[in-house]
């Protein structure tokens, strides 16, 4: 029992340690990708406990920067199927447990 408990703890540590942002899928150009990723990281860190606010912040910033009709989904577990304008999608993991999907479709 104790061994498994330790193992779990280690795993949790490991998860915490490796909570770097990882872009899972994107078709954005380099510059846009970097900017979007930074924005997502900032938003998720700012609203660590409120995914809705984070999503709102991301959406509004993206609308301002890259034109309107952006959609953002942040969550720990969800499945999705979206239609997006090409070169305007980013799907990333962050903080070890969050998935962020940002896309544009008008």
């Amino acid at each position: 029992m104790a061994g498994t408990g330790e193992g779990k703890k280690e795993e949790a540590d490991y998860k915490r340690l490796h909570s770097f942002p990882l872009i899972r899928h994107t078709d954005m150009p380099e510059e846009m990708r970097v900017e979007t990723m930074e924005l997502c990281v900032t938003a998720c860190e700012k609203f660590a406990t409120n995914n809705e606010s984070a999503a709102k912040m991301i959406k509004e910033s993206m609308d301002k920067k890259f034109g309107s009709s952006w959609h953002v989904v942040i969550g720990e577990g969800f499945g999705f199927e979206v239609t997006h304008e090409v070169k305007n999608l980013l799907y990333m993991f962050f903080g070890g447990s969050l998935a962020v999907c940002v896309w544009k479709c008008s």
Partner: protein, 550 residues
């Protein structure tokens, strides 16, 4: 039947159908304000509706029409094509214009994925990425090692190449050597010509080259380049300048300071220690810049406040002293080259300071005169020599003998003077315009001159007082003019610049730097005194008999 009744029946009654409504009123009047009276209105509504029948026509596209057509045996496809003439649009009515402004929507695609904590999708992805990164690191290490290997290989190659060249370079002491044959391949010609050369006194392999143009019509940008003999392929430093350089001088003690004179009349000081493309000091119109090309700059010893200072001479006839104060260049006019009995200023072309007497300096002018001046008298010259019939290209004091200086001119002559005597001691005709002349640093009697026909002439007065002991064309084409020559301060090497932008370094053959041979085992005296005596001996032969002391 009563007859009368019958008659009545037979009577014909005529009825005429007219368009007039019998019931319509005929006496409608209205008041006319125009005529101020009631007027009968002639036109009244004459129509009455007696019968209404709806049409049996059908719209050909309607369902009913289709049904009818089927009933009549006409199939649907067969119906007569109708020509729809394009509607003629009113070009002035905006709303009737055709609209073609529909854009294509941006391309879209779909994407779907699942993020799930329970299935550890995120965690797995992160883990995978980490592993990938680690692998990449290892790979990178490997590749960098490879690169380093390649680099070191290249370095070795470079070293080998520079080895070859340094071998050639270091062999200047030896003759009948393979390196005698060494000749670097010439590159295609450049537009700039070498306008100034100067050795670094501290580091004997380094020299500065000024690039510009002597052609009045081809003035453009210039370049200051610092080369080392160790690497002829690429300069140590280079600075491009907006105006062509005409002269430069490296400070004797602080060899990182380079004073430069430009065609546009500016003087500037570059500091090689600073990695800036701009000079650290530069004169401008406010700070007394020359109005004509600057032909010579010469560093001086630091003044009493330990400020660096240098002199410049220009075609505008001014000799100016420049002092490098903290962050500006302060100028002092030393002398203006007025010709005293005419009222015009002479154009200075060259300048040299006496090696020992600090205040004494010589200025060569475009008129062919050489003025001996003092820093302390700004109003007049100490002496004037009618030296040449063409502009004086260079004037230089002897390194050893305190009285002797040399001058050269485009009038094909090189003259050697005793500054106490107003006529030249020696005159040499080189049968071509002489662009530059330089005393050797190792012997008081050796000097070299370059001519515009591409030859270097080396003289040793102690060997031959009348002719050059060496006359060598050093550039391939006869058309190339040599512009400058400088002796290395330590080694028997000369550098020669030409008007196609090449600097050629040449080693002097042993006979050109031969020390006088003594008897076997006998050490010959050396030193400046010997050199002075050697020159003095030569001069004494030429002086007027009354000067000769018996």
């Amino acid at each position: 039947i009563p007859l009368g009744f019958c008659l009545e029946l037979k009577e014909e009654i005529t009825r005429i159908l007219t368009a007039n409504n019998p019931h319509a009123p005929q006496n409608i009047v209205r008041f006319s304000f125009k005529e101020r009276s009631f007027k009968p209105i002639s036109v009244v509504d004459q129509m009455t509706v007696h019968f209404v029948l709806e049409s049996t026509l059908l719209h050909q596209d309607s369902d009913e029409a289709r049904r009818l057509r089927i009933k009549e045996g006409l199939s649907e496809g067969k119906h007569i094509p109708t020509f729809q003439e394009p509607k003629l649009t009113n070009q002035f009515n905006f709303s009737e214009r055709e609209r073609h402004c529909q854009t294509e929507p941006p391309p879209r695609s779909s994407f779907s994925a699942t993020a799930n904590q329970v299935l550890d999708i995120i965690y797995d992805a992160l883990l995978e990425e980490l592993q990938k990164q680690e692998q990449n690191k290892e790979k990178q290490k490997a590749t960098t090692q490879k690169k380093e290997d390649e680099k070191s290989k290249k370095k070795i190659m470079l070293l080998r190449r520079s080895d070859d060249i340094t071998k050639v370079r270091s062999n200047f002491k030896y003759f009948e050597d393979a390196s005698d044959e060494f000749r670097e391949q010439e590159e295609p010609s450049k537009s700039l010509s070498v306008t100034a050369l100067c050795w670094n006194d501290k580091y004997n392999d380094i020299f500065a080259v000024g690039m510009g143009s002597y052609d009045f019509s081809k003035q453009g940008s210039g370049m200051l380049i610092i080369y080392s003999l160790k690497n002829s392929a690429f300069p140590e430093y280079y600075y491009s300048t907006t105006s062509g350089i005409l002269c430069l001088d490296i400070h004797k003690q602080h060899s990182y300071l380079v004073a430069v004179g430009f065609y546009d009349g500016c003087v500037a000081v570059y500091n090689l220690k600073r990695e800036r493309a701009e000079p650290v000091y530069k004169s401008n119109a406010n700070t007394g810049k020359h109005t004509d090309p600057v032909w010579q700059v010469r560093w001086q010893n630091d003044d009493m406040d330990n400020n660096r200072n240098f002199y410049s001479v220009s075609s505008d006839g001014r000799v100016v002293s420049w002092t490098l104060v903290k962050n500006e260049l302060v100028f002092t006019d030393i002398i203006t080259l007025t010709v005293w009995h005419f009222l015009y200023t002479a154009c200075g072309t060259s300048l040299d300071f006496h090696k020992h007497i600090e205040y004494l300096f010589l200025v060569g002018t475009e008129e062919g005169k050489i003025h001996k001046c003092s820093k302390t008298y700004s109003s007049q010259f100490l002496d004037t020599y009618d030296a040449h019939s063409m502009p004086v290209d260079a004037v230089k004091w002897n390194h050893f003998h305190p009285k002797v200086f040399i001058s050269c001119s485009s009038d094909w002559t090189v003259k050697i003077w005793d500054h106490t005597v107003s006529t030249p001691m020696f005159t040499f005709d080189l049968s071509s315009a002489v662009a530059d002349v330089a005393w050797s640093p190792y012997s008081s009697t050796v000097f070299a001159a370059v001519t515009t026909d591409g030859r270097v002439h080396v003289f040793d007065l102690s060997v031959n007082k009348y002719e050059a002991i060496c006359k060598q064309p050093v550039v391939a084409k006869k058309k190339t003019k040599l512009t400058h020559i400088e002796f290395n301060p330590l080694h028997p090497i000369i550098i020669v610049g030409d008007d196609r932008g090449y600097v050629t370094s040449l080693k002097l053959s042993p006979n050109l730097r031969k020390k006088p041979k003594g008897k076997k085992g006998q050490e010959l005296p050396k030193g400046p005194e010997v050199e002075v005596a050697k020159m003095e001996k030569l001069l004494s032969l030429l002086r007027e008999p009354e000067h000769i002391t018996f």
